[in-house]
Structures are given as C-alpha cells and as structure tokens.
C-alpha cells in the first residue's frame, strides 16, 4: 500500500495533521491503536496560541464547535483555570469570581465521578448559594447491575436517548437558581443535544467535567476521525506498527499487526504516538526510549532525577521526549531522519518554547509539520 503520508497515532495531533494534509489533497493514512489522550481531555486547549483561529476553522468543518472566549473555566473539583479556546461543552465564565447568585447542581444518584460537594463549596466561597440534587431514571438502572458501570460514557449513552426525561426532572427540582450545573455526560453522539438542553431549562446551564472518560473528548475524536475519512483519508483503527524500515536516514516503509505482510510505503511518516501512557515513550529501570524507531531522547542516567517527590509538581520524566530539528524532523543517532516528523506529546517538553504544551503542542506541531509537507520543504 502506498500513501503520500502515513501518520502513526490517531489522537489530537495525528488527526489534526491528517485532516490538514487530506484537505490539501495528500493521500494520508492514520494508524490508531485505539484509546488516546482525547479520552481524558478537559476540553480546554491550553497553549493554542497562534493556532487558535486555524484550529477553530478545521474543527468547525468537522462539526466540532468551539468557544473562542477569554475567561475562566470551572474545573471538576471546584478550581478555576484561565481559558481562551474550549470545546462547546465547556462553559466559560467572564471571571473566576462571582459566577451566579444561586446555583442548582444536579447529579445522578450513585454517580461518584462528578463532584458536586466540591463544586458547591467552591461556589459558596464566591457568594453563590448552592443546592445539590440527584436524579434517578429507571432507564439508567441497568447500569447498576454491575457495580462498576456508573461511568460517564455509559451514562452518556443512556442520555443520548433519554436526556429529555432528565430535563423534565430538573425543571421540577429548579426553584429560583440562575445557574444549573450538570455533569458532561450529554451529547456523546451529537452535540446538538447540549443546545437543546440549554434551551429547555429555565436558567443558564453549565456542563462541568467528570472523571475520565471525557464525553466531549470522545465525541470530538469521533467527529475528527469522520472528517478525516470523509476527506478520503484511511483510518486504520485498532492497529499498531510492528516494524519500520529505516536506512541511511530515510524511512521507506512500515508494517502493522493487522496488515501482516503488507507493507505501508509513504513519502513522509509522522510519529504522533503520544507519551508514556499511549506508549509513544517507554521507560525501563535504566532507560527512557522511543520504541518504534529508537529515536534519540535526552534524559538523566540517574533514575532518582526522573521524578519530583511532590505528586503535584512538574515531573521531570514528563519533559523527556523525542529530539527533533527546527522543522520537527525526528533525530536518530544524532542525525535528523529526512522524512520522519514527530508531533504532539511524544515530544515531551522538548519544544515547549516553540509550540507550548498539551493540546496546544499537539495542534501547533501538527500544523507546522503539515505545512512543511504541503510546502514541499521536506
């Protein structure tokens, strides 16, 4: 099989690059192992910086709407974070001060991944009187048959069908609150449900994050994947790269588990395999390495230096990532590989100054590499 570009990794970075290239008419394949960081995405594009408008347009074409509002985002445990570009599920408040006079916080009975008590306390401190109420739908009872099924995505599947029942329950619960907080478990298939809920309720509605999986993240990933395929891209789902042919600084082809002996040839390859969790980077007691190509990663030999003993501090191990040249060519044995690029969190924090971190890093490096490839400056 021959493509112009093969992208390894179907997360935010891989899909953004794939759509950009496919839009420019380049024949592109994405190999995706399945779950990726989109499944625990807060919906906040930190560090999007100069890519804000461009990513908004790319997402809009995929049916993903964004808020390009500067303001404060209410996090699941009650803290606020600055936001400038968010998925439409996320409510951006003008500031992190007084966001409402009275708030009704609605949760599902037995759903422990939405933190009403914490939210209430945080809002009370800012002068908002809060009430927490629970709804319980017979349609959700089947989830309780197994004690571990009350998770965001499972509830969201039920809600795709029964959201109107919840809305009518909330209408009964609502008194005089000017804000209603709901968990982000709506619109898994279709984000239009969010607006329908907003219109059907008698107060402003804010959807607040839950423990992963992230319903907005999963929906976004689905829509981006669909967009990529509509544009003619080939998305190889649930597959992984098993070997790569790299000779004299050029990758000629790769093989995957599902395609067995069929080799994938391409002019360029993009590594968007993520960090440790997604196995883009791996660690043993003595080394940190990139498992597919054996690319260069700088890290201290002394394992003690990999960690901070403060759980909440920036962890040194998260900085380590694939080394690249100025135009994001991956480096192996000190030399850039001519047709292999690295984007997204497989870079760790090695390119923080140029491209930021987290979601910002993913989209900005994706655009940069797509532009290099489209411009023929490979």
């Amino acid at each position: 099989m021959r493509f112009d570009t093969v992208i390894i990794g179907g997360g935010l970075a891989g899909l953004t690059a794939g759509i950009s290239l496919q839009e420019a008419g380049r024949k592109t394949a994405i190999i995706s192992a399945g779950q990726n960081a989109m499944h625990f995405f807060s919906g906040n594009f930190e560090d999007a910086g100069p890519a804000r408008e461009r990513v908004s347009a790319l997402f809009a074409a995929a049916g993903v709407r964004m808020n390009a509002l500067e303001g404060a985002l209410l996090m699941p445990m009650g803290s606020f974070r600055p936001a400038s570009l968010t998925l439409e599920d996320v409510t951006v408040f003008p500031s992190d001060e007084h966001i409402a006079d009275k708030a009704l916080i609605v949760n599902f009975t037995g759903f422990h991944d939405f933190f009403g008590t914490f939210l209430a306390e945080a809002l009370e401190k800012r002068g908002t009187t809060c009430r927490i109420r629970f709804v319980r739908l017979p349609e959700m009872e089947h989830l309780r048959l197994s004690p571990s099924e009350m998770r965001s995505v499972n509830i969201a599947r039920t809600m795709d069908e029964h959201w109107e029942k919840v809305v009518s329950d909330i209408r009964v619960l609502h008194k005089d609150e000017d804000l209603i907080l709901l968990p982000q478990v709506f619109g898994l298939k279709d984000a239009a449900v969010l607006d329908k809920i907003r219109r059907a309720l008698p107060a402003r509605v804010a959807f607040i994050g839950t423990m992963p999986p992230s319903v907005p993240g999963i929906r976004t990933q689905m829509l981006l994947k669909r967009r990529f395929e509509v544009l003619g891209g080939t998305f190889l789902m649930g597959d992984e790269v098993t070997s790569a042919a790299l000779h004299e600084g050029v990758v000629s082809s790769i093989t995957t588990r599902n395609l067995d002996t069929v080799r994938l040839f391409a002019d360029q390859f993009i590594l968007a395999t993520g960090s440790y969790f997604s196995k883009g980077i791996a660690a043993t007691p003595t080394q940190v390495y990139e498992p597919l190509f054996g690319l260069d990663i700088d890290y201290p030999k002394d394992r003690n230096a990999w960690y901070s003993d403060d759980f909440f501090a920036d962890q040194p191990y998260m900085d380590y990532g694939v080394k690249t040249d100025a135009s994001l060519h991956a480096v192996k044995d000190g030399e850039p590989v001519k047709n292999l690029f690295a984007i997204g969190s497989v870079l760790g924090n090695t390119r923080k100054e140029d491209f930021g971190t987290a979601a910002g890093l993913a989209i900005r490096t994706a655009f940069a590499v797509a532009d290099t490839i489209k411009g023929g400056n490979v």
Partner: protein, 531 residues
C-alpha cells in the same frame, strides 16, 4: 474515677498497643489508648504481612521460633478473617548449601514447627511460580495475615470492652510526681488542643518511637532502628509463601496477600532521627527484584505496584551493623525495677506475629502492679469478624447469594461485613474498582471505624491499594468524605495528601506500566480535575 483518669494509658496505636488495649479492657481495666497518627501507621502496616510459622528463626533463635508457632496457631483461631492459610516453602537453590536443610528441619521440629521435606518436582507442582532450578524444598505452616485488619479488629474489640481511643494525638510529656509517672500531656493534631490524662500505669507501646517516649519519661532505651524495604507486585504470583532455606538475608521472603504478593526485605541500620521519613532507594529496589526473581522468576517481569519501607523496633544488644543478629524477642521493661520510675512500663521488640503475646506480657505486668487477678483470655476469644471458618461460609451466612463485592468485603471484615448497608444497588456500587470496595463498605467504615481521612480509610478498607493506586477511587472517596464530614476543603487537602503519599511508593518503581499509570493519574489530577 474522673473523666480523664484511667487505670492504664497505652501509648501507640500499632498492633502492640491495640492488642494491649484489648487485653487490658478484657480484664476489666479502664483503658485509654493514645496514637499520634492513625492505627497501624508504623511497622505494623509496613511489613510482609507474613504469618510466620517460626521456621525462619528456628536455626538462629529457638525462643522466637517457638513463640511464633504458638501465636501462629492462636491467630488462625482468633483472627481467621485476617489470615490466609497458605503454607510456606523454604527452598534451596543450587548456590545454597543443601546441608543447611537438615539442620533447618531438625531445628523446626525442636521448636514445635511441622517441617516436611518435599521433593523439588512435587514442590514445583504445588507452587508453579517457584524457581525451577530448586534442589530442595521444606513445607512449613507459614501463612499471610492482613496487619491492618488485625490491628483494626483489636482496636474495635478494645472499644467494645470499654477502651477509649484517641487518634492523631501525640504524647508531648509526662505528668510526674516524684519518681512516679501519673499521666501524660498530649497535643491533638486535628483540633490543635492540648490535654492531660491520668493513669496509674502508662504503657509505652510506641514501637521504634518508644525510645522517644521513654526519653520523655526520663528513661533510656537504646533502640536499633533497622529499615526494611519491600515491594508489592500487582499480581498474586504465588499462592504459597516462598522463603530461602538459608540464614536470614535480604529479599528472601515472598508472601501472597489478597490480590498481590510482597517481596522483602532489606535491612539497613538508620539513625533514629530518620525513622519518620524512610523512603526506598533505587539500589534497594534493584536488589529486591534481583533477589526476588531467584525465588520466583516471574517476578522479573511482573508489574510492581509500589515500594515501601518500615522500621523494625529492635532493641540493640551488640554492635551488629545490619541488625539481623539481634533477637526478634520480646522486651518487656518494668521501669520501676529497671530505672526507679514507677507507673511506667515499656513493651517492645517482638514482631507482628507475637503482638498478642506481647500484649499479654504487658497486661500481666500492669495487672500485677494494680493487684488485679484476672487471667488473660485473648488467646481463646475470637476477634470481631472471626466468626466463620471460610470467607465463603461467612458470606453465605450473611447473604443468600453474595455478590463478588460482598465476598470481597467479607475477606476484609469477616462477619463485620454484615453491618454494611446494602439495601440499595447504590450501596453496592464500587468506589475502588481494583479492590472492589463498595459505597456501603466505605460508609460503614466512616461511621464506625474512626476514619478522619482518606489514608485512614485506606488502612481500613484497602481503598487505593490496587493497581491504579488511587487514581479513580481517591477522588470518589474524597467526595464521600466531603459529604460525610460536611467539609470539602478538608477533603480536598486530604486528597492531595493521599495522592502524595501514594506517589511516594510509586516513583521508586517508576518505569514501565507503573509509570504509564502514574503519568495518566498526574495528568488527570492536574489538567482534567484541576486539583
């Protein structure tokens, strides 16, 4: 007797203190137990959880070996819900001296420990995880014991017999009248209030920290702080305890416990000042894996959950730099005869295995001093929860068709699981998926087991002890505590402390899947939840 006057004050909420409180209370004394942290925070919760048969000490210390086997048999009876009757092997590897085996078996038999030589092939069939190169195996009645459950059960029973327990309360000094200790001064770390409590006898059961308590009383005890590091593996690799049949050395015991197994230990003398903040070094981790894989080769490729270390409360006797040759024997000091200080005794040394005997010895001394003649009954009276023979029997006695969640609760609480609310499916939903801890069990622990925070909850329910190390359940349980205590601020701080504490045991083994899990957890807490 006034409200703050007692017959006996026990300092220390580890297994020795809890056992002594239970024994004293059962003999009709008015008891107050004071612990500066939570129950089982010291060496009690930081060991293998090995129900020693005594075989390990048979060659070097017959007295300890004999104490162990007697207590081993007693604990199987009185704490059946805390004990897993696994049996144990002492294996000889090609690099070991097979002649030691004969001496070992002979010493075991002399100490009253059943020790049976098993053909290596047969041993390998019984315990497939064994190193297939073994050249000898001896079967002994080792087992595993859950020290948290055991400590909690003693504490609950002490309270059922009228004892009072003050947690998070530190003894800051003694109230003295001439050469007599009349009570203690305290400081409560949660309420930030000072207090004074009076008793005829004060028992120092503070483990390694007993040296400091004795200092406060004006008495010198030379403890020998010996740090032991251990690793928890994410799978129950072995079903039978595996030991090396040689003189006790590093990392030569592998104990299965619940869904995991534990290798240990190392032994390093540390300065007394460092007892509070022991951590595991990369060298210790490397040694534990290397030596552990000699017992069960699968360990080399098994995911590690965490590393931890405890400090053995040994009483120093000579200049042995490793502490291995110091007796594990029990030390019960009457400071009246030893130092001329009346109303003060110290119970130390010993082991988790012999806690009950230590408690009995301390309580006998207390009773002698109070001129009370009542015999010890702890060896024959089952602890709360130890009602049935097997976990399944207990579960079926409580529920007609127990669910897996209920069965898990029974293994933790024994017959006490009957107290868990389970009328509604909501109570059965899981907070901790790795360890199958339900909403009902957590509520029940919050209500009756003196839970003030997540770490306390972990010691009583195993929340956060599984594969994810608190990633999911930390937040969920914090949510429940916030609701129960009506204070989200405290629960949030508590959650941070809990995750920091979990991380301490994770980064020493931070590679492979453990690092993947850690990265995910750190990402979720910081960027998704915004903690």
């Amino acid at each position: 007797m006034k409200r703050n006057e007692y017959d006996v004050i026990i300092v220390g909420g580890g297994i020795t203190g809890a056992g002594t409180a239970r024994d004293c209370a059962m003999r009709g004394l008015k008891v107050l137990l004071i612990e500066r942290h939570d129950i089982a925070t010291g060496a009690t919760g930081r060991n293998h959880g090995l129900l020693h048969s005594g075989a390990r000490y048979a060659v070097t210390d017959q007295e300890s070996a004999n104490e162990c086997i007697r207590e081993n048999r007693i604990l199987r009876q009185i704490a059946s819900h805390c004990v897993d009757e696994t049996d144990g092997f002492f294996i000889t590897l090609p690099e070991d001296d097979l002649n030691y085996q004969a001496k070992f078996v002979e010493s075991c038999l002399a100490a009253g420990i059943d020790a049976e030589i098993v053909d290596p092939k047969e041993a390998l069939r019984m315990e497939p995880s064994l190193n297939p190169d073994l050249i000898g195996a001896v079967r002994v009645p080792d087992g595993s014991v859950d020290p948290f459950r055991l400590c909690a059960a003693n504490m609950v029973d002490a309270k059922l017999h009228g004892a009072q327990v003050l947690l998070y309360t530190e003894v800051t000094g003694f109230i003295k009248n001439g050469d007599r200790i009349q009570g203690v001064k305290t400081y409560n770390h949660q309420t930030h209030k000072s207090g004074e409590y009076y008793a005829t006898i004060t028992v120092n059961a503070a483990g390694i920290w007993g040296q400091h308590i004795a200092d406060l009383a004006g008495v010198k005890i030379g403890m020998f702080p010996a740090k032991g590091a251990l690793l928890i593996f994410a799978h129950r690799v072995n079903d039978i305890v595996i030991n090396r049949c040689r003189k006790p050395a590093n990392a030569d015991i592998l104990v299965p416990g619940d869904t995991v197994c534990i290798i240990g230990t190392t032994s390093t003398k540390i300065p007394f000042e460092e007892c509070d903040g022991v951590h595991v070094t990369p060298d210790e981790v490397n040694l534990l894996i290397e030596e552990g894989a000699k017992l069960a080769p699968a360990l080399a490729n098994t995911r590690i959950l965490r590393a931890y270390a405890g400090v053995r409360p040994l009483v120093s006797a000579d200049n042995d730099p490793s502490g291995r040759n110091i007796s594990r024997g029990i030390v019960c000091l009457d400071h009246e005869t030893r130092d001329g200080i009346k109303g003060f005794i110290t119970i130390t040394g010993g082991k988790l295995m012999t806690y009950r005997l230590m408690a009995e010895m301390a309580t006998d001394l207390v009773c002698r001093k109070l001129s009370i003649e009542k015999a010890c009954e702890t060896a024959t009276t089952p602890l709360p929860g130890a009602g049935g023979k097997s976990f399944r029997e207990v579960a079926e006695k409580i529920w007609e068709n127990p669910t897996t969640v209920q069965k898990a609760a029974v293994t933790r609480l024994g017959t006490g699981a009957a107290r868990i609310q389970a009328e509604d499916s909501v109570d059965q939903s899981l907070i901790c998926e790795c360890e199958e801890v339900s909403v009902g069990e957590i509520n029940s622990a919050i209500e009756r087991l003196d839970v003030s925070g997540l770490t306390d909850l972990r010691r009583r329910t195993r929340v956060g002890m599984g594969t994810c190390q608190g990633e999911l359940c930390g937040c969920r349980a914090a949510g429940m505590l916030a609701k129960a205590h009506g204070c989200a601020d405290r629960a949030r701080t508590d959650l941070k402390d809990f995750m920091t504490e979990r991380w301490k045991g994770m980064y020493p083994i931070g590679w492979g899947d453990a690092l993947r899990e850690a990265e995910y957890t750190q990402w979720v807490y910081k960027h998704v939840l915004g903690v």
